[in-house]
Symmetry: C2
Amino acid sequence: MPAAQPPASPDVAAPEPADDPAPAAGAAARAKGRPRSAAADRAILDATREALAELGWGGLTMGHVATRAKVAKTTLYRRWPSKNELVVDAVASLFDDLVMPDLGSLRADIEAVVAQFADLLARPETQAALLALFAEGTRDPQLRRRIREAIVDPQKRLVRQGRAAAQTRGELAPDTDPETACEEIDIIFDTIAGTVEHRVLVSGEPITADWTRRFTNLLLGPFPSLVTD
Amino acid sequence: MPAAQPPASPDVAAPEPADDPAPAAGAAARAKGRPRSAAADRAILDATREALAELGWGGLTMGHVATRAKVAKTTLYRRWPSKNELVVDAVASLFDDLVMPDLGSLRADIEAVVAQFADLLARPETQAALLALFAEGTRDPQLRRRIREAIVDPQKRLVRQGRAAAQTRGELAPDTDPETACEEIDIIFDTIAGTVEHRVLVSGEPITADWTRRFTNLLLGPFPSLVTD
DNA sequence: CTGCTTTCGCTACGAGTCGTAGCGTAACTG
DNA sequence: CAGTTACGCTACGACTCGTAGCGAAAGCAG
């Protein structure tokens, strides 16, 4: 899972393996010399999460991480070119715990996901890293892409799954146009993720069951106290 | 508008002016020695915004700002204790341009505000600063408080104004409980601000008129393609 | 076992930033 | 005028960065 330049390649991005000198190698292990220690990878990522929780984004330095992971600073730089990329990998796995429960109603499913996301955002590692990563991403398109691929986009599955389950239950009408469905998924995802993040990380208010209910009302039903004429 | 420790006071926060040695001074100018240059204040804040747009949050250093503003680094530190506080003041004024238009319908008002906010978030100074500030705020409660007071809370007036206008027009029912109304304002604010920020700064997608219409639909009406039984 | 290759830990380096201190000078007040 | 405060400038120790060079260790092919 690390940023993983292939062993002996300097740092060239090489996103397209098209004209590779060793073609059709597949996923074969191209091991010739001493292999990289997998234990070091784990130690580094763990140390990164711990340091993130203790020192925050600004206090996190490559030197600290290396020391805490009992690894030379050089080793760290051999695998991750910068703090940004390291933190992406260290934080991405935290989001894997989110699941779509299928509790029998769209409302219950949404509330459950919101609660899970709120719990995740309450963790200090997540708080310290997430917004800082997003901030760096606004200046570095490549980093933003990595963030989307590793953290953001994988969570859209939750919206897709919940939506599909609701359609199976007959709560939502089946898709007509795939294009429209995709845009709808995007907008719902931005709304749920953005709102919960803003509530927790910016406003600094807790996510209570009552708040979740109100928010779900706003999503599912009409605007509160709207006079329907 | 700067962080403004009163001239000769070291740095004590003194949020409550209750037991002030010189009481009832009002807004009088307590000038004794050489007054601080207002031109320097403006030059520093302008330089901060420019450097923010050019170099981003990470590239912004106190030294750069001082040089660009043609001011000694010492002068800068005399007024703002850190980069965070400086940027709060430099960015806060950008948000003053947001206005509640009163276009005759709740839907039109919401769409107009979303469009304004989207334009603001498209500016490089805003992009570079906003999320980074929020990120720092998650670790420093005092900074978060300053951010809220200077940037976030003042914009809640937009929700209040739009809501009041809609109530006058009869689109929304009048308030019953002030407590409930306050929570409702909070949740609407978090939803609009959070969603637009997530769309622009995280997903990196533009805010089009079409997207704004869909988002307003989600807010005002029921969930898209919801089967009402 | 013997080379070959690559990673490892360690040390050291120049460059850059941080926030502060000291100094003499400038500006404004009574 | 004296008193007070802000200003520009220089210099400082502490820290982080990312890189380079070294000898040693670990795995693989013959």
